[in-house]
Structures are given as structure tokens and as C-alpha cells.
């Protein structure tokens, strides 16, 4: 059986023996987008709250507007941790996706089981030059999505996965 990735030639067995596969993290674009959205929405909320409270309840009540700001700081850190936890590895015969900080989840999808690979990109994602790759198998529970990829990388991944899927195709 030929092995897929050039860096990992012949390492399928070594990986099983415990060696770490070659992980790829997500590009920083996704983190930037999420943090920007967080700052914009919570910033607006804080300003709105401050203005409303200041007008209706008195200046000392404006201190409550610090609440969204604290939330923003916490969210800033959380988004960073979550972003760092996302990673994927293309191995010779399967794709690995690992994510989550508190609730960790690791998914393995053999290439032969892929029914469909999708590249999606919403309006906000497009503005930030991001795209996500979603894998579908015959099982609906398979939740294999890699968000926030560079569109070129997403397309490369899609083509490569499709190609590998065809080479190792299997039915149900």
C-alpha cells in the first residue's frame, strides 16, 4: 500500500506505535475574525449599556457597563485557547481532527469512507478570506469540520481528500 504524505512516507506503522502525526494548526485569520466580532458586539453592548444607565439611573450606575468589558476579556482568552486547540493531520489513510479545551474531541475519518467533501464560506468568512472544509460520511454523526482555513488551502485539502477518497473508496 502506498503512503500518502511525503513527509510521513512509511510511517503508518510508527504512528500506530505512538509517534505523533504531523499536526497542522489553523491559520490566525479565524482567531482575528472571532476576536474582532467579539470586540465589536460586546463593545457596542457596553457603550449602549453605559449610555442607557447613565441617562436613566444616574452616573454611578454606568459602572455596570464594565461587565461586558470583563466578559470581553474572558472571551478574548477563551477564543485564543479554543483556536489553539484546533488542529488536523493528514495521515496516509485517514484524516485526524482534534479540538476542544475542556470538552476535547478527536475524530478519525478513513479516506475511503468519505462520501462528500464540502468547502463552505459565509459572507463574513469571505470578507476575512476564510473557508471551512466539511467532510461527510454515510454516518450523520460524523462531525468532521475544519473551520477558518485559507481558501487556497481549503481547496487543496478538498482536492486531496477527494483524490485519496477515490483511491481508497469503499461502499457502506
Amino acid at each position: 500500500m502506498e503512503t500518502g504524505s511525503p513527509e510521513n512516507t512509511g510511517t503508518a506503522r510508527d504512528e500506530r506505535a505512538g509517534a505523533e502525526p504531523e499536526w497542522t494548526g489553523l491559520p490566525p485569520g479565524l482567531l482575528r475574525m472571532r476576536r474582532l466580532l467579539l470586540v465589536v458586539w460586546l463593545g457596542l453592548l457596553a457603550i449602549g449599556l453605559a449610555v442607557l444607565l447613565g441617562l436613566l439611573a444616574g452616573p454611578s450606575w454606568t459602572a455596570f457597563a464594565l461587565l461586558p468589558l470583563a466578559l470581553m476579556a474572558w472571551g478574548w482568552v477563551m477564543l485564543g485557547r479554543n483556536w489553539r486547540s484546533w488542529r488536523y493531520a493528514e495521515r496516509a489513510d485517514d484524516l485526524l481532527i482534534s479540538r476542544g479545551v475542556l470538552w476535547r474531541e478527536e475524530t478519525v475519518v478513513p479516506y475511503g469512507r468519505m462520501q462528500l467533501v464540502e468547502v463552505t464560506s459565509g459572507p463574513v468568512e469571505r470578507h476575512f478570506g476564510l473557508a471551512s472544509v466539511q467532510l461527510h460520511t454515510a454516518a450523520a454523526a460524523t462531525d468532521a469540520t475544519i473551520p477558518g482555513l485559507d481558501p487556497a488551502e481549503a481547496e487543496r485539502l478538498r482536492d486531496r481528500l477527494t483524490e485519496l477518497g477515490e483511491a481508497r473508496s469503499a461502499g457502506l
Binding site: 500506530r16 475542556l102 470538552w103 454515510a138 460524523t142 481508497r168
Partner: protein, 444 residues
Amino acid sequence: MTTPGVDDAVREQHPGTDRRLHPITPLRRAWAPVAVLIGWAVHDPDQAQRQLTRLTTTTLLLALAILLPAAALYGFLTWWFTHFAVTDSELRIRTGLVFRRTAHIRLERIQAIDVTQPLLARVAGVAKLKLDVIGADKKDELAFLGAEEARTLRAELLARAAGFAPETAHEIGEAPSQQLLRVPPRVLAVSLLLTGATWGTLAAAVVVPTVLWLTTESPWTVLATAIPLIGAAGASSVGRFVTEYDWTVGQSQDGLRIDHGLLDRAHETVPPGRVQTVRIIEPLLWRRRGWVRVELNVAGSSNSLLLPVAPREVAEAVVARVLPGVTVPDRAALSRPPRRAAWCMPLWWRGYGLTITDAVFAARTGVFRRSLALVPHAKVQSVRLTQGPWERLWGLADVHVDTGANKTVTARLRPTQDAANLLHSQSERSRTGRRVAAPDRWMS
């Protein structure tokens, strides 16, 4: 009525020629307007009474004179415009009077074929043919065919799906079936009496209306709660008995045959190699008798029962036929989660168990109602490992195995390192397991 010459007529036809459904078909929708009227009358009796008194004989006759021919014409036209044809690789169904619909069903994608006969259809000697296809939400059905024609058509479809040469597909006829098991009515009745759900729903149907009567004394509230409860109790006891009555499992070349039903007879066929998961369920009160219930999942099929009740050894023998090369792992072979799992799932952690054989991934859940799920390695679509914060504190993780029938089998509370190893070894096994699995056309 069954035409005696139908069998020959079917054989004489060329493959690919259009056929029509049984001429009795238009009648099956005839009762629909009547049912709507009755439903309306029951729903709103006062209104119905008033409307009825207003009706004069002439309006009634006029309505009948318009409605009946219209319904008859509609029924006739839908029948007239429905055709089906069997070609070498496909079953084509064309239906629709206004919105035409043409379904081309690839024969090797057929997961199961059922012949069902509702009570009235049994009287009329006709049957319904239902086809399970992957990816289709609803079953495609051919209703109605002559009972004999339905059998021959099923045999022909299965033979073609199995990969027999098109010319010989007709002649093969129905593959001989060898009976594996028949559930005696007495055993079925006893097994239902020993099921908690039966007594639970019955108790609810008796207790809840009584309590309501004592507290509210309003007959309408009591009726409104009692009717659905009694319905549920009936469905879980009498209903189950009626559908699972005379459950017969037979083995034939084109798959496993399941025949059952007291009033509505159903004949199901599960082709080999289509089963994604098998669950062996052992309720608490059945254990002393050594009985089990076996459920299965086939992609794109709603049939999920293989055996309503059977002794364990017999059930294991039948499972070995459904999943070739699989032996049901012994109870002792199942490894429990470590003792610290009690912190994540008090008491119930004892119910979990996991073992992996050369052919299957087997995970057990449940303390009182034990359920052992078997997934052949070749049927695994993806493997996932999940771990929440509390589980990580205790060094435990869950491993989920997803199958094509949208069922996920979970091995809960494994030690983290074991789970990580399992994740990789299982994906490896499912990848290689596919190579030794049977082909889609299992006869070619």
C-alpha cells in the same frame, strides 16, 4: 383476487417492459374521504349534527353524484399512469398524474425488500412491495400487486441485486428458505408479561386517570388523559403481540427472511452484508430464562427487529448468520471501566463493557436492561474520542463508533491512554476490515 396466470405472465415479459399495478389499487384510496368525514364528525359532534339536519335528500344525492365519479376517476387515473419496469440494473417507477415522478432505483443499492399484507389486502389477495434504498428518506413502495406477483417480483429483484445473469434472473424464482426459528405464541406472551414497559404503561393507564378523577372530578380531563395512556398501553402489549405474532426467521441464499404478524402479515428480507449494527438486549426479568431480544440496523431501512424473543444460544446462531464470521463475545470477555469510573457514573458504570474481536467492536451498556451492541469493523464510518472536564480529572474518555445506519455505538469511560490507542487501532481495523468484506453483489 390472485390471477392464476400471473406467474407465467410475469415470466413471459421481457425485462424492461412496463407493468402496471394490480387493478384493485384505485380502491385503496376510496375510503379516505369517508375517513375524513368520520374524523370531523367525531371531533365536533354538535356541528356535525347541525350540518346533517340541514342536508336534504337532493343535496346529498347531488354530492354523491359528483364526488363518487370524481374519486373513482382520480383513483383510476393514478392507477393508469403508474408504471414500473425492471431492467438489468434498475427498477424504474413512474407515477403522478399532474406532477410526474420517475424513480430509478439501482438494484445493488437496495438494502431490503419487504412484502406486506394489511388485513384488507389479505382478504383481497394483494400485497405491497416496499423497497429500502440508501439515502432515500421514505420507502419506495409498489402498492398493490397480486400476492403471487409480489413474491416473484421480490425474488427477481433480489436475484438481480445478487448479481445473477439477467436472462436467468426470472427462472431462479424464490430461493428456497430454510427455517431457522419460529417464536411460539406462548413464549412471546410470557416475554411481554415479563417486560417492564408493558406493566409500566398499564399501571400509568390505571393510576393516572384514577388520581385525576379523585382530584379534579372532571370527566373531560380524565378522558383526555386516559385515552392516550390506554392507547400507549395497548400498543406496548397487545400491539406488540399482534405484530410480533408467529415470528419466523428463515435462511435463504438471498438473505434472511423474516415473516410475522397476526392480522397484517409482513415478509421482510434482509440481504447479507447489509447489517450495520446488531444489538442483543437482555431485560432483567428475562435473564433467568436465558432469553434475549435482537435488534438490528440496516442503512436506509426502518426494519429494526430481528428476534422479539429467543433463547440466547439460538439468538447467537442467528446473529452469526446475519454477520458472517462473527461470534458473539462471551460475557467474561467484556472489560469493565476501571473502578474510578464510579465517580463519573455512580452504579451504572458497572453496566459498561467493551471488547474487540477480529470481526466486531462490541460495547455493552445498562445494568438492569443489558444491551450489547456489535459493529463489524467493515461498517465503521468514523471513530471519535470525546472527553469532558470531569472525565479528564479521572483520566477517562469515551470512544464513539459511527455507522452508516446513523447509529453511534459508544464505549464509555475507558482509561484515557486506552481510549487513545483504541481510537487509532479501531480506525485502522475499520479500514482494513473493508477489504475482506463481501462485495455489494454478493453472488457475482
